[in-house]
Symmetry: C2
Subunit: 307 residues, 2 copies
């Protein structure tokens, strides 16, 4: 049985799965089910202890790409597969989010917004895409799409990942030792990294200070990537130009958090890539079919890598 433990739009998810997997028994919370018959669960962040009753569980399909919260639980047996969404329409949305931020800084829309408040008609010299160095941190399905689209629009794109990657038209570097030199060669930094022991706090005070004067930053992966106090300090002293942040160490950001009112921050409420029901259900259904056939699903989490 497939069991959907989903708070929002449960009927929509149920319909998407029933049309894609007509042969499978499917139920959704709050319908009562016999937990011993549940083999697959779709969920996001259920209450503590939730998984303990499902003794014959084979796989949990997460309703997003970031599975750090699932990995941190103690009620999931180590032999239960965790499967994350690996694209499912999220890559295209993340491309749009990053592209907006890159264009905003490259084309001085942040400065023109300030000038508009003063009624100041003042033109800045053009900076062309090919003279704009964009570095993308994270080169999975999402990061690769971001880097490739930006390169296709003419930007000078570099990419960084934990393990080696190759992407046409992108200068790819990998490993912590290569990160410093990359940061020093960056006009606009785009973070689309998951939260893992390797990425938490990766952009600490020392590394942020390696960015050239006037550099800007976009973060749409996980909020714990960046030392926010250090970032704000570098914005306040004029070293960095600005940042566009979609993710935060604690979400939602409190209404009285000073970040909202920082003039060099553009803040969005974790909307860079929403989970789209149809493509997500299709990817999960494909994963279930693969598991039934004794194969591994796309998006299977490697627990020792925490991603």
């Amino acid at each position: 049985m497939l069991y959907l433990s989903i708070a929002q739009e449960a009927e929509h998810w149920l319909a998407a799965f029933r049309s894609t997997l007509p042969e499978l028994e499917i139920n959704a919370w709050p319908a009562p089910v016999d937990p011993s018959r549940v083999r697959y669960i779709v969920t996001w962040n259920p209450p503590a202890g939730f998984f303990a009753d499902f003794l014959n569980l084979e796989a949990v399909f997460a309703q997003g790409a970031g599975i750090d919260k699932l990995l941190a639980r103690d009620d999931l047996a180590p032999d239960v597969h965790i499967v994350r969404l690996s694209n499912a329409g999220m890559a295209a949305q993340m491309v749009e989010y990053a592209l907006f931020g890159v264009l905003r800084f490259q084309r001085d829309f942040d400065h023109y917004a300030e000038q508009q408040m003063d009624g100041a008609w003042r033109q800045h010299p053009p900076r062309l895409a090919e003279a704009t160095r964009v570095s993308v941190l994270g080169l999975g399905a999402i990061g690769a799409a971001v880097a490739s689209t930006l390169a296709g629009l003419g930007y000078r794109v570099s990419g960084w990942s934990r393990s080696p990657r190759e992407l046409p038209g992108i200068r790819c570097v990998h490993g912590e030792a290569a990160l410093g030199a990359l940061l020093a060669d960056t006009d606009i930094l785009v973070g689309v990294l998951p939260s893992t022991p390797d990425t938490r706090g990766l952009l600490n005070r020392e590394r942020l200070a390696l960015l050239p004067a006037g550099a800007a930053l976009i973060n749409a992966g996980r909020g714990d990537l960046i030392d926010l106090a250090a970032l704000v300090e570098l914005l306040d002293n004029g070293r960095l130009r600005g940042a566009q942040l979609d993710v935060f160490p604690a979400e939602p950001l409190a209404a009285d958090d000073a970040l909202w009112r920082h003039p060099k921050l553009l803040i969005t409420p974790h909307i860079a890539a929403a989970t789209l029901i149809e493509p997500s259900a299709a990817q999960m259904a494909d994963g279930i079919r693969r598991l039934q056939a004794g194969e591994l699903p796309a998006g299977l989490v490697e627990r020792q890598r925490a991603y």
Copy 2:
């Protein structure tokens, strides 16, 4: 002789032409020249009467795509060719400008900026590119690049032009009779039209009212395309969502103009596509060589079409 009547960065332009056309005599204002020996002039908007002395002038190369001001003069003989910049790096810049505006409305960055002022963490339902109808007015070199790039990113793109055009992946319509139905089928309207007798006031009160409720508008062609009073009224009464304007009937926009302070307007100071010296000089040099060979240059203005 080629004569450059150029106010800004004249030395840079002169160097670009001398390296591209080493065989030609080239001088730049304020160097004294014998006007009867000048065959080609590069300029933008010289003082009244400027052209009267140049009795053997063959062609004027404009430092931009919009040549409405040159056509309105009475000191240019009708047999003098007027040549406009037809791409010269402007198309890529215009693509960026339009793309920023499209992303801003599609991805609700305008709404999130308002929410940031209130510290409001509230997510809007995602609207995908393929569910976003973008209509591009003007399908010359620049408009075609804008439409094609947007289509490549997944938007549902239509294009409108005076005369028939065909572009892969774009629904192309033409002529004034087709404009109303197009406007009624548009979420985001992008104007990249020149100023001609056909386009002045084209987006009048009646036509703007044909846009669906919540539609948005980007104008980066010429300011006289739109009835701005009607636009502001439609923004104020909530019918239209917002507009991003780079061009205005009179420029620069006065510091006390109320448009600057309209909360639903994003205003930039005519920066969508700057004239880039090297690619522009290269296009003009190619035009001069063609004229010398008895051919017609790219970007030659058809005076009866006023473009």
